[in-house]
């Protein structure tokens, strides 16, 4: 994992001091709220319904155990004993006091973490595949380029007051777990025929009020040229993106309004100019230096199978179910990727208590080469666990309500904070996720239903990714009461798609029944081996609509 050098440390410390000054100037009255707001946002501080909210960046979703332990400590000391892992691989604290945030940030900085650019109209925290470096079939660890992008985009002097926020995601695998096509820029790390590493770049994806799947701008940017290419995209956007209407300000609207071809032409033209100076060609030594941090950990040479692991599954049916749902093959023989679901039945999706975070930090330290990952589906991952240790890890997780065996199933839902916390919400998301999870709590039924992604947002901003849920649920407000709209057929993977709205919205009382109707329509219609999304893509909206509204 990347480790700060003196330069990184100093810059983060400078930033905390700068923010401390800004908070003081706000409190003393030297700054008005209108002036302070963009500054606090640039440091991850929002105002929610009940308190401020602090969003802490977890670059490309990778944490060391000491960092996870610090997140637990912060939850205890500055918050109310929990944190919320988000779809952007960040963690949010819901109750910090403004005047304590500079101290909190000082503590975070001790473990090389910060809240820089987790909000505001700048380039946000770069996200990536939670299985990076652990899964078979990657062209290269996507965190290498993610880290280079993190550094390049941090305090970028030209791109800190963009028309709107800007999100970049990276994957290096054919199965996209980072939803790269739903980002302002999505990057696929790949190898060309000559064996060189380079990048396929997608531009103009996004959710919010007008969702778009990104357009492929180029097939292959050579490794050393990526920053020049990104800077070209950013400059075109900063000069031509709309600033008159915040709903039309994302790059997706620019790409849509100018057209894919014209956008590509402008980017290429800008790229040629920027690249000519070679100023943004990253030196090989620096690429090597950063790559070295992501070298594989010291794996032991082990047989591909573990007797202990097989035996434990035979002996313990619950463990066997956990393995089936949450454990994924590792690229290294004798190891596994262990997913930790933050979706216990009836729980708050993505929430973890300080005690749970401590437990996970300990497990990472003892059994996973010190690493934890955060997923955009609001779960956690221990990426490098020996097969022999999986049962021990499972037992420890189970003792802390962290062993729910539901990864990718109907109760593994994404839900934004919604009206329980969020200032912009129309309706609550979390209680709905809880009710759905209770309704389908029977694991055997969940396995029978199979892969099904429900994603819930409390308003059209789509923080809960409802547009790309197999089943999406959007909270709407009608005269101060909550209603919920359903959409079907969305997908956030390599076959990214925006879901279609079924029709009129449902009341709070009716929505869970409506979801059940959708599910039984699927189970009635599915062919052998079809997942929900396959059936939907085959039969279309009509049968679902019929059952929902007749």
């Amino acid at each position: 994992m990347y480790r700060y050098d003196e330069f990184d440390h100093k810059l983060v410390a400078d930033r905390v001091n700068q923010f401390r000054g800004q908070v003081e100037r706000r409190v003393s009255g030297a700054l008005s709220e209108d002036q302070f707001k963009p500054l606090r946002l640039m440091n991850g501080v929002y105002l929610q319904l009940h308190a401020y909210m602090l969003r802490v960046a977890i670059p490309y979703g990778t944490l060391r155990s000491e960092q996870m332990r610090m997140l637990a400590h912060i939850a205890r000391k500055y918050d109310r004993g929990y944190g919320h892992f988000t779809t952007r691989q960040n963690i949010q604290y819901n109750w910090p006091a403004l005047d304590e945030i500079p101290d909190l940030l000082d503590e975070l900085a001790c473990v090389e973490m910060h809240a820089i650019q987790t909000s505001g109209n700048c380039i946000r925290n770069v996200t990536s595949d939670q299985y990076a470096g652990a899964i078979e079939g990657e062209a290269e660890d996507p965190r290498i380029v993610s880290e280079i992008i993190r550094q390049w985009s941090t305090f970028h002097p030209e791109f800190t007051y963009l028309p709107r926020k800007f999100k970049i995601a990276v994957t290096a695998h054919k199965n996209d777990r980072a939803a790269i096509k739903l980002h302002d820029i999505g990057i696929v790390v790949k190898q060309n025929d000559a064996g060189e590493i380079g990048y396929e770049v997608h531009v103009g994806g996004g959710q919010g009020r007008t969702p778009f799947v990104a357009k492929k701008m180029t097939d292959f940017v050579p490794k050393a040229k990526l920053l020049a290419y990104l800077e070209a995209v950013m400059r075109v956007y900063n000069m031509l993106g709309r600033r008159d209407n915040s709903y039309k300000a994302r790059i997706k609207i620019l790409v849509h309004e100018t057209g894919e071809e014209e956008m590509r032409r402008m980017v290429e033209e800008e790229f040629a100019k920027i690249d000519a100076s070679e100023m943004l060609t990253v030196p090989q030594e620096e690429i090597d230096r950063i790559s070295a941090y992501f070298a594989p950990p010291a794996f032991e040479t082990l047989p591909a199978d573990s007797q202990a692991f097989s035996q434990a599954q035979a002996d313990d049916a619950d463990f066997a179910r956990f393995v089936r749902a949450n454990v994924v093959a590792h690229k290294q023989d004798g190891y596994a990727i262990v997913n930790i679901s933050l979706k216990p039945i009836g729980g708050v999706p993505g929430d973890a208590t300080d005690a749970q975070m401590d437990v996970i930090a300990d497990l990472a330290e003892r059994f996973s080469h010190d690493e934890v990952r955060v997923t955009h589906e609001q779960n956690l991952v221990l990426p490098h666990v020996k097969l022999d240790d999986v049962k021990t890890v499972y037992d420890a997780l189970a003792a802390h309500e962290l062993a729910t065996a539901n990864l990718g199933l109907i109760s593994d839902q994404i839900a934004c904070p919604g009206l329980d916390y969020c200032n912009l919400a129309n309706a609550r998301s979390i209680p709905l996720a809880q009710e759905i999870s209770e309704r389908f709590s029977d694991l055997d039924r969940q396995y029978d239903i199979g892969e099904l992604k429900i994603k819930i947002s409390g308003c059209i901003n789509a923080c809960g990714h409802h547009h790309v849920g197999h089943i999406g649920i959007l909270g709407v407000d009608k005269k101060g009461t909550e209603f919920y709209q359903i959409s079907l057929g969305g997908a956030a993977d390599e076959n990214a798609a925006i879901g279609q709205i079924t029709g009129r919205a449902f009341t709070e009382e009716d929505i869970v029944d409506a979801i059940e109707t959708v599910v039984t329509t699927y189970t009635d219609l599915r062919a052998d081996g079809e997942r929900f999304i396959d059936t939907y893509n085959r039969v279309g909206m009509a049968p679902f609509k019929e059952r929902l509204y007749d």
């Binding site: 030209e158 900063n238 990253v282």
Partner: protein
């Protein structure tokens, strides 16, 4: 654009320029004119020997208009001693790109000035994009300005200034 004091290259400076409305007559004083006038009167202006400046405006152009296009200045660069970039609101960062294009693509070496709604915390970023002159509100002193410029000790990426950025400097 009254009531400011100027800082150029980090030091307090006398204002030697005047902003001229389009219908005001040109004098021998160093004058900052609009892009429209620059384009309309290009030939007449060529006769004039006094220093010429232009302001790149970002407002008053209609609601959905983005602001003037920096690349329209290309034919005139050699004749300009000053370019003022107008920031209509501190949130509007379009001018940062204009500044870098002027410095890095057009190699403009004259005075590059920020005017309009510019906050304390933005001076350093503007400076990195090549802006070297600032119109500061009367109650902001030079020391405050210099503190703001030094708040972040380094940079990761190159821009229009001398700082190559850590991603490039580390290897050296």
């Amino acid at each position: 654009m009254t009531d400011y004091h100027l800082v150029i290259d980090g030091a307090t400076a006398e204002e030697s320029w005047i902003y001229l409305d389009d219908d005001a007559a040109l004098s021998d004083a160093p004058s900052i004119i609009s892009l429209t006038r620059l384009k309309d009167q290009a030939y007449a202006l060529a006769e004039r020997s006094a220093p010429l400046g232009v302001i790149l405006r970002a407002d008053g152009l209609g609601k959905t208009d983005l602001g003037e296009d920096v690349r329209e200045l290309a034919p005139f660069i050699d004749r300009l001693a000053l370019i003022a970039i107008h920031f209509p609101a501190y949130r509007n960062g379009r001018g940062y790109s204009a500044a870098r294009v002027l410095r890095e693509e057009f190699n403009f070496t004259g005075q590059l000035r920020a005017t309009g709604d510019v906050l304390y915390d933005q001076w350093a970023m503007m400076n990195r994009c090549g802006i070297n002159a600032f119109e500061l509100a009367a109650d902001i002193d030079l020391a405050t300005f210099q503190t703001a410029l030094g708040e972040l000790s380094g940079a990761y990426q190159p821009a229009a200034d001398q700082n190559r950025g850590a991603l490039w400097a580390r290897g050296k």
